[in-house]
Each structure stands twice: as C-alpha cells, then as structure tokens.
Symmetry: C3
Subunit: 332 residues, 3 copies
C-alpha cells in the first residue's frame, strides 16, 4: 500500500485486513515500529482530531511528525495552476508539496473542496494535482469528496460496538450556519454500503447527494450485499435504525451559491437531532458524528451528552486506524 | 498523584517531595523515564514558557507532546454550556477535551479567567467544568486563579538560591496597560505562605486581593508557621525584603469593568519597580517575576538587566519542576 | 563550532569539512546521534523549508525540536532596546531568548531585516543583539544579510550536480510585488565566490548590491581564486552560465522607501526568468532559487517545471546540510 486516498481504491478484504491490523496494534502496541520515520502533515484547512491523532499515532509507533499550516507561521499558499503570483500567497503548492515530501517518509494532506464547481470537486481536481506532486507514501486527510480515515474509523467503531453488518445505517442531513463540503457524507455512505449495511440517506429536498456519490455507494452495496436508498421521510428512515449518523452539507443544487443555500436551510431548523429521533429506532441505536459539531444547531445537547452518542469513541478510533494505515504505508 | 491543579490540594510534605524529585531529575537525568508517553497541551490562551517548557520537559524524559491552540490551525472553541452554536466557534470544548484526552497519556490545559464575574472565576467554574471532562492525568497550565507550575518553580528557585524559609517575601502590584488575571498573584501569595515566609502583599488602594485568596494564604501560613498581611505602604513593605516579586493584576473592585480599572491605574505609573525599591531591602534581595513582563511599565530595564533579577532562572525552573510533576503523574 | 551565523566566519576548509560531514550523514544515517537533544526554533518571520527541514533534521538524528512563533499562540514580541512596553507586544526578546535557550541544547533564530536603515541591517544590529542573549549553540535561520544554511545547501547542491568549481555563476535579480531583504543575495554571492566560481551579479539599474556585500564577496574570491563582478547587461551575463540563480531583492538605493522602490520595479516586468534566458548559457546550465518563489512574476512556470530547475533539490539539501551543522554544534 503506497497511498491511502479513498476506501474505494481497495477491495473489501484489504479494508478488513487494515481493520484487523488496527485491532492488533491496539491490543499489542509496537512502540518502535516506525522508529526514525518522519510524517509530514500539510493542513490547508483547520483540524483538531486529524492534527492530534496523526501526531499521536506516529508517536505511539515510535516515529515523529512535522506539521505545516500555511498562513500560520508559514507562507500563504497558492494552489491554482498557471497563475501569476502577484497576490498575497508567496508560495505555490507545486513547490511546497515536493519539498515537504523530500523531508519526510510519508505525507498527509488536507485540502477541502473549493465549493465553487461541483464537477471539479467531484473529480477531485485539486487533490489529484497535489497528489501527483508527491513521490512519497500519501494519506488523504480530507479532500473534496473523500475522508477515508474518518470512514475507516467509523467502520472500526461499528465493528467494536457490534453494530450488525446488515444493520440499518441512517445518514441524516442536519443543519449548520454555512454549507459544508461533501467529503464526509460521500465517504460515510460509501463506507456503510461497503460494510454491507442497509444504508438510508435522509435529507430534505434540495440536499440530495450528487448522483456520482450515490452511484459509487450503490456499486459498493452490490458487491457487499448491502443496499442504498435516499428519502426525505424522516419517520420511514429512522424506523428500526441501528445507527443515526448526522452530518452537515451544502445543497448540491445550489453548489457555490451561498445565498440560495442559506434560503433553503433557513426553514430547516428542525433538522437538529434530538431524543425524539430515536423513538422508533432500534433500542440499541447509536448516534454517530465525525466532529466538530454545532451543538443545538445540528445535534441537541441531550443526544451528544446521552448514552447513545459514540462520537468520542469515533474520534479516538481515528488514532487507532491511522496507526494501521501508517504501518502499512511505511512498513508494508 | 493524578491531577496537579493547585498547590493547596497537597500537603506541604508532598510539595517538598516534588521539589526533591525535581532536584534529583535535574542532577541525574532519566532520558527514558517517559518513553512512549504522549502529553497533550491545550492552550486556550497564549504562552511561551509553558508551551516550550512542557514540550522540552517531556522530550528530556523521552516522551512526546502534541500542541493544540484553538483558532491557530484548529477550530475556534466554544466553552459555554448549553449554547446554540451558530457563531464563529465550530467546536465545543465538551468534545475537544475528551477527544484530546483519548489520544494522550496526560493532558495540560490553559484556560485563563473570563474576567467578567469575580465569584465565578474565584470558584474556577470554567476550569472545573473542563477538568471534569478529562479522564486522564491532568495539569493546570494556568486557570482563573491558579498557576501551580509557576508557584512550584518559584518555590524551587528560592530553595536553590537559599532564600530563607522565614524570609520576607513581598508580592507587589505593578502597572500594566490592561487588567490581568489573578492566577499568579493568588498562587504566589499562597506558595510563599505555604513555604513559611513572612508574606506581604503590597498594592495600591483598589487592588487588594479578594478575601478568599487572602484567607487561603493565611490558612497556609498558619500551617507552615508563616504570616500574611497586606499594605499600601511601600516603605514599610520593602524594608528588609528578601524577595520582591512583581505582578500585574486587575482591580478586583472593578472586576470586568475595564474603564473603571483604567481610570484607577492611570495615576499609578510609579508602580514600576526600579532600583530605588531595593534601597532598604535585604542586601541579598532578589527580584522575581513570572514573565512575560512589560519593560519600563511594570519593571525598569535596570532591574531586569541587573544582578538581582532571577526571572530567567524562574523560567528555566518551570521545566525542571514540570519534569517532576509529569513523572509523578505518569509513573506515580 | 559553537555558532553557525555566517559562512564568512569559517575558513574554506571548515566549510568543505561540513559539506563532507553532510555527505557522510546522508550516506550513513546516524539515527541516534542527537538522542535526547532538544533544538529550539524561534521564528520572528514566516518559514516553510526552514521550519520543516530543521525539525526533520533533528528527528533524523534522534533529537527533538520545539517551535516558537511569536503571535501564533505565543505573545507578540518586542525587539527594540529601552522601549516602554505599553503597546501590543507583551514579551521582550531580551527575556524570550535566554528563556528558550535555557530549555534547549541549541537554538535557531530567524529574524529578517527591518528594512528601514540599510547601515543597521548591514551591521546585523538586531541579530547581534539577539545572539548576545543566547548562551547555547546558535544557528542563524536567516538574519538581515545572512542565510548561511541556504548558502551551504546551495554549495552542496552544486557539488552534488558536479557544477564546475570554476564555473560561471550568475545571480540575477528578478521581480517581486514587494522589496525583499538582502540576506539571500548577500549569502549567495559570497558562497559562490568562496567556492571559487566566476560570479556575476546581474541586476537592473538601481538594484546594485551594497558595496560592503560586494566587497565581502570579492574578498572571498581573492582567497579562493574566483572572481566577482556585476552588470546590467543580460546577454553578457548569461553567456556561458553554468548556473542561473534567481533572487528578488529591494532597491538598496531606496531602502525603506516602498513607493520609490515600487516605481523602479514597475517597468521591470521582463525580469522574470524564462527559457529564453538559457539560449546562450552552457548546455548543462542549472536553474536555482531558494524558494518560496512567485511563479510567473520572478520565474516562469516553464523554467520551474522544466529539467534545468533544481529548486526542490536545493530545498531537500537544506535538511542534509543542517544535519551536519547540528551535529557539529551539538557533538563537536
């Protein structure tokens, strides 16, 4: 394994093998496995879990990490190809990535969607460009439409909690002050389908996930024996759910049009998960979210602070599964 | 020892034991004592000594540290309970602390006073809330009214310099462009009283320390054989002093009222320690300050650059005593 | 070796010895050579290569690094002597440097030219003041007119690429939206002269390097057998060049006068290196730049992305030579 960019790049068996390695490393730590190795972490966007969990994962395997955050002690960074650089950015990513890669044994890059051109974001135009500049093992720390470490951690969490492989997984849209990218919903629906679950995407009108994202999930479901469908009927979606996974995203119909998006979501304040959402769910139904989360906008305190919530466990498992990813990338 | 939040939580003998351990670790380094351990450092406020000395302390014991500074590459962080998060902050500390704790073997948290409600700050309302979220060993890196690592380093520094245990310790208010929190004056007066010294708090009218802070110091003095009193008479206070410890703080009378505080301090520009302050002090009188310090506002260059100043030694001893604290927290 | 501040502080043989050590460490890594050592890195100005390469260099030798960036989680820092600190800066560098030095085994400091007073910057007034505050081994990570690690890396890169020691080295001024400091041009012209090359400084009228910089380079050339001259004739300068090294700098004639500088450079948009600059150069002519670089302002994409460019190799060699510098500073 030389790159970890998207779960879809790997057969299901290889993902199961990674999950198994993560469990073994958790049970039997290998504090010298990556001794002397250096991981570079390039953050073009903010982070807390990714920033802390990649560093601690390296440290727990005996390695080290170097963090670069453009604009925070580092030059502002240009990403557009062919541009005349007479603005604020002093450095182009075309130099920054190969230079950082040259100092490190592996690189992690976070580069969110631009949020202007849906087709370009779905095609991962920017991340592909950047990935092509890196000649070292590479981890996607969240790109336009993929967040594979989150998806892997969520899969691991469901296995750990014995959520049935054929269980009902409801990814529900929730509200947020601004439109957020599609990386987590896209990765989540694909991951749950790949795991073989009955996947329901619950979202209000105007927030249907783009067809390429749904089709990729359906394809994974066909291979795993799972199913994928979408609905705006909350009662139907939540009935019997084993997992309610909340996520915020911008309207794909109004991609890049913040005003139209804002008008659409203004009337959707009841898309904030509270206890009532669980009344017809499975008695053991879990609440999942990738964090950070807007309390009492996307999810009510009573859910986040209640016994169904496994959001901290999901976050902890980021570190656990990333140890396996780094182990495979750096030791094979 | 599982938490290091306030010197007052420990009997005097345990503090002396920590100081002894610090001295032993300084004399006989143990570069592998914390190998494989990860310390998380969460800074809700700026820092230089704390940021650098905790990292170097861990490194010198073979461990590693992960630094998180909200708003600097990390999401802005909400701390108010029950809030509807539709503002700038994307993450609530209720998630951030348990998540960080899950990645680490111990956590350090810096969270200054809010400076609005004196009673709430004296009760450490915010820090207690945050500490309750952490299920790992925890160090207070400065809360509303406690900075135990600074107090411990200052105690160590006085022992090292053979300042008499019954010596006269003058904590003097000095000026500053803005009102600063009470954590260092509160911890300092308590520490010197716990050490058994003759403690004098010298401050202009309007800057008397809140009664709960003075009472806690008097209680420590009763146990140690020291004394504590306050005055605004500079000549009386400084006569025979073994230590002049300068510190800036806001008027407790006008807590949260920056304008009233500013009016009060406008006429107090002569509260800037210069050489003349030492003329009736003990010949070996030392000058102490926790840093950072406003040169020529709080303290004159001639004092900071003169032979009485031990401010750099105090700062160095932050690292020394924190090695002992981390050792106890992580190895018992 | 206790300080690495300027190549001119060392005889040519000692520099060659450092380059040899760098090559040996690259060929035969010593992953425990600096085990337990802590390097402090103080950045008063932005960085990417320096920030990442010093950390990775320490890590690859078994040591650790602590990064301090004033204003980024750390107090804003005052540098003027004697100042009354009633402004935004809470900490003076007179405390910050000795405190950081006390936590570390060696210190690196970056402190660019102030860009107001040419004589003061040429005299390294600020950096000398700061260096005097540090009682530990010290590395100059770029001061007003010196960037010795860049110069050493560039020398190493030319040796590695077998650029002839007597080859023609053209340092050419290139355009930039703002006037930049003289540290890299000054260090580069001196380094190439010290290496024994035929050094040409190509620059438009108004951008001649200050006489002290040229004289220092000529002195190095006299000792090494090289030559140094300057010209504004591009054809003459580039004919037969073995290296074209592009760099941006402000007009020394209008030092500190941004408007006059801007008027001068407004008509110099053709000072952007493109393929045509190489037509009469040596067939193996290399393109060098220290990075970061403004694409299509200072250098055209076609050059940076073409086969002549060795800019990423130069950046990688920063890490390689810094390992040697740190080794000498910390192990002798």
């Amino acid at each position: 394994m030389n790159r970890f960019l998207n779960l879809a790049d790997f057969p299901r068996e290889q993902i199961k093998d990674l999950l198994g390695l993560a469990a073994r490393l958790q049970q039997h730590p290998q504090p010298q496995a990556l001794a002397g190795k250096v991981l570079g972490l390039l953050f073009l966007n903010p982070s807390l879990r990714t920033l802390a969990s990649f560093q601690s994962a390296m440290m727990r395997l005996g390695g080290s990490a170097v963090v670069i955050t453009p604009g925070q002690g580092t030059w502002q960074m240009e990403t557009r190809p062919g541009v005349v650089m007479n603005g604020a950015a002093a450095e182009h990513i075309r130099e920054a990535v190969p230079v950082l890669a040259s100092y490190c044994d592996a690189l992690g890059i976070r580069m969110f969607a631009e949020g202007r051109d849906l087709a370009a974001d779905l095609a991962e135009t920017n991340f592909r460009m950047v990935a092509d500049l890196c000649d070292k093992p590479l981890v996607n720390m969240e790109s336009a439409v993929s967040h594979p470490c989150q998806a892997l951690a969520d899969w691991y969490t469901m296995d750990e909690l014995r959520v049935p492989e054929r269980g009902k997984f409801v990814l529900t849209w929730v509200n947020h002050p601004r439109p957020l990218p599609l990386a987590v919903p896209a990765s989540t629906v694909h991951m749950a389908a790949m795991r073989g679950m009955e996947v329901v995407v619950l979202r209000p009108e105007g927030f249907a996930l783009p067809e390429p994202i749904m089709e990729k999930a359906r394809e994974a479901a066909r291979a795993s024996g799972g199913t994928v469908y979408e609905t705006s009927d909350r009662n139907e979606a939540l009935a019997g759910a084993h997992v309610i996974y909340a996520k915020e995203w911008g309207s794909p119909q109004h991609y890049g049009d913040h005003e139209a998006d804002a008008r659409l979501r203004a009337s959707l304040t009841d898309w904030c998960v509270n206890e009532s959402w669980f009344k017809n769910a499975d008695p053991d139904c879990r609440f999942m979210h990738c964090l950070p989360v807007r309390r009492n906008v996307a999810v009510a305190d009573e859910v986040l602070d209640g016994p169904r919530s496994v959001v901290v466990r999901e976050a902890f498992n980021r570190m656990v599964v990333q140890m396996a990813v780094l182990y495979r990338l750096l030791r094979g």
